[in-house]
């Protein structure tokens, strides 16, 4: 049985609570719960250190800074709720940035995932050429977050840019998109939708993991194509769908590079692409209002927290995990 080194050697000095009562892991192996407990802390230690030193402590510090006025050079000065009050009551640019970001998330994420799922389903039943299509559709999401592509996007959708010229030959004269307040935000959203390849690949990987026996059993039971999709594919795919949804939503709230680039670094025209993170960067690192930027970061944190919590709550009713047995 147990031939490995004794567990004293592998358990870190971290104060480990006695786990006799909680053990109940397995009745078969004698010494196993204790051994596993020690091993677990070894495996966890890099993450634990990072969580404590690089995540939790900085979070608390930035919470403190959000109640101060701080320019990185002189000591932080306590101002109470001033930053938050100013933000919510007398900073129209703040609200503009929040609204822009919200619209962007609501437009870009559902459309991107819908396209990703549709293409993944198509590729899953396309047979020959699947590998080629997968790589080709995936390419944009490898490249799309880059500065290079954002620069291309700005050039393509500019006044006199290629898209404008093309539509002009059909008599549709828009005069550019990135230079018009009503359209610039959608150009950024379009760039995000263009990158549906990443969630698509994850969808495809999920589809490949659906056991064939389930489809065979469903077919034996007389289930048609639609029925098999609804009763087999979707439930088996729901963890992947959930994963993509949470991930893309959180990322979308924090989008920076395309907004920075398309807007020429300032969120223009007329603040129409002033995304939340862009304004945060502007306040913190251009205007040196670190306290205000920290307050903005904390509001973002709370909003993302609420949205994620809602998604997780809803997942109980529609996500199916197959590892229970």
């Amino acid at each position: 049985m147990n031939v490995e080194a004794p567990d004293q050697q592998v358990s870190p000095p971290r104060g480990r609570p006695d786990s006799e009562s909680a053990a109940a892991d397995s009745a078969t192996a004698r010494n196993r719960p204790r051994r596993r407990e020690g091993a677990a802390w070894v495996f966890l230690s890099p993450w634990l250190l990072g969580a404590a030193v690089l995540t939790l402590t900085p979070m608390l510090v930035s919470l403190y800074l959000s109640f101060t006025q701080y320019d990185l050079f002189t000591a932080p000065e306590w101002v109470g709720l001033d930053n938050y009050v100013h933000m919510f009551t007398s900073d129209p640019r703040y609200w503009r940035s929040a609204l822009n970001t919200l619209i962007y998330v609501l437009v870009a994420v559902p459309l991107q995932l819908a396209v990703a799922l549709a293409v993944a389903l198509a590729l899953n039943s396309i047979g020959r050429g699947k590998g080629f299509y997968r790589s080709a559709f995936y390419a944009p999401s490898l490249l799309g977050a880059s500065m290079s592509i954002a620069l291309v996007w700005r050039a393509l959708f500019n006044d006199g840019g290629t898209v404008d010229d093309m539509l002009s030959t059909f008599g549709i004269d828009m005069g550019g998109w990135v230079n018009q307040p009503g359209w610039a935000l959608l150009v950024v959203a379009l760039l995000t939708i263009w990158q549906f390849g990443a969630p698509m690949v994850i969808f495809l990987a999920g589809l490949q993991q659906v056991p064939n026996e389930l489809y065979e059993a469903a077919e034996v039971d007389g289930a048609g194509r639609m029925r098999r999709f609804l009763s087999v594919t979707l439930p088996m795919l729901s963890p992947v769908l959930f994963f993509n949804l949470v991930l893309q939503t959180i990322q979308a709230f924090q989008v920076f590079t395309p907004a920075f680039t398309v807007s020429g670094g300032r969120g223009g025209p007329a603040d129409s692409t002033l995304f939340y993170t862009l304004y945060l960067y502007d306040r913190g690192f251009t205007a040196s209002h670190m306290g205000y930027a920290s307050a903005m970061a904390w509001v973002l944190l709370v909003v993302i927290g609420i949205v994620t919590a809602l998604l997780f709550r809803s997942s109980r009713s529609w996500v199916f995990y197959n590892d229970k047995g």
């Binding site: 192996a29 407990e37 091993a39 969580a51 900085p58 198509a122 590998g131 592509i149 904390w298 973002l300």
Partner: protein, 288 residues
């Protein structure tokens, strides 16, 4: 792919599948146009950039590339690429090692506080980097690490990209438990089970982690913008940033030549790992 696979020997044309191909090809044409445009424009002589509608340049203007190779602010493109490579490679190593370790503990081992710690890990996925940005900056500043690559690489070795921990946990959960149990019966402890059973079977997840980490770090702009300020330390992304302020079309040639150069390593990286990606996904069909 599933039930339709065995087509009848009669060789009837599967019109549904033909339709899929036509649709996918049409979508591809539209989607890949910006990339074609980027490459074509990078070879266009200055006078052709503005009178645009034609995609292909009438002659190849290599001058855009010779201009781009000179780099920005006296720093050559090779240096810029090298800096980006150092940062991205370090980040990949850090994430693959630290995230797979943590994922194994969460996916397979029992320990006190497992539930709360897992919830904490999930919570840090949704944590916007901005919430820790300023204090981290202060700390790295005091350690004398601002304007070095350390703030961009070091955190990866401590699994701060919790998303990859989650991704790997999800994958490891899909590995049949019977394999662990068999290993335990054969006398393997958690460490040998990890290195012999779970880690090899988790290769698709590890490769996904590596690919995403590389691309994201390579493309990252925000952190590099904040931490690196000397041209000697600039990455290729930071160098491209100098083009953001100019929107005059006369700068298009060199700008997009450098953009192509910036994208090349990503394309090469993906092509190199594509084989492993496919193989990894195929090997995930190890159902007992």
């Amino acid at each position: 792919m599933v039930a339709v696979r065995e087509s009848l020997p009669g060789r009837r044309i599967d019109w549904a599948r033909v339709g899929l191909h036509v649709g996918c090809l049409a979508a591809l044409l539209v989607m890949l146009y910006p990339l074609a445009w980027l490459i074509a424009t990078s070879f266009k002589p200055a006078d052709e950039v503005i009178s645009s509608l034609r995609l292909l340049p009438s002659r190849l203007a290599m001058s855009n590339y010779t201009t781009a190779l000179e780099g920005v602010g006296g720093v050559s493109v090779l240096r810029l690429i090298g800096n980006s490579l150092i940062i991205s490679t370090g980040a990949v190593l850090g994430n693959v090692i630290s995230c797979s370790l943590a994922a194994y503990a969460f996916a397979r081992l029992r320990f006190t506080l497992r539930g709360p710690l897992f919830a904490l890990m999930l919570a840090t996925i949704m944590l916007p980097q901005h919430a820790v940005l300023i204090p981290q900056y202060i700390v790295f500043n005091q350690l004398g690490m601002v304007n070095t690559f350390w703030p961009l690489v070091l955190p990866k070795f401590l699994a701060t990209d919790a998303f990859f921990v989650f991704l790997t946990v999800q994958f490891m959960r899909g590995i049949p438990k019977e394999l662990d149990e068999a290993a335990t019966l054969d006398g393997c402890g958690p460490f040998r089970t990890f290195f012999r059973i779970i880690l090899p079977l988790s290769r698709p997840a590890l490769i996904t982690t590596a690919i995403f980490t590389f691309i994201w770090t390579w493309n990252d702009f925000f952190l590099q913008l904040i931490y690196l300020f000397e041209p000697e330390k600039f990455t290729i992304t930071l160098a491209l940033r100098s083009f953001v302020d100019t929107s005059s079309q006369s700068a298009y040639g060199p700008m997009f030549a450098m953009s192509v150069i910036a994208l090349l390593p990503i394309v090469l990286f993906f092509m190199a790992f594509q084989r492993f990606l496919v193989e990894g996904m195929a090997s995930s069909g190890v159902k007992g």
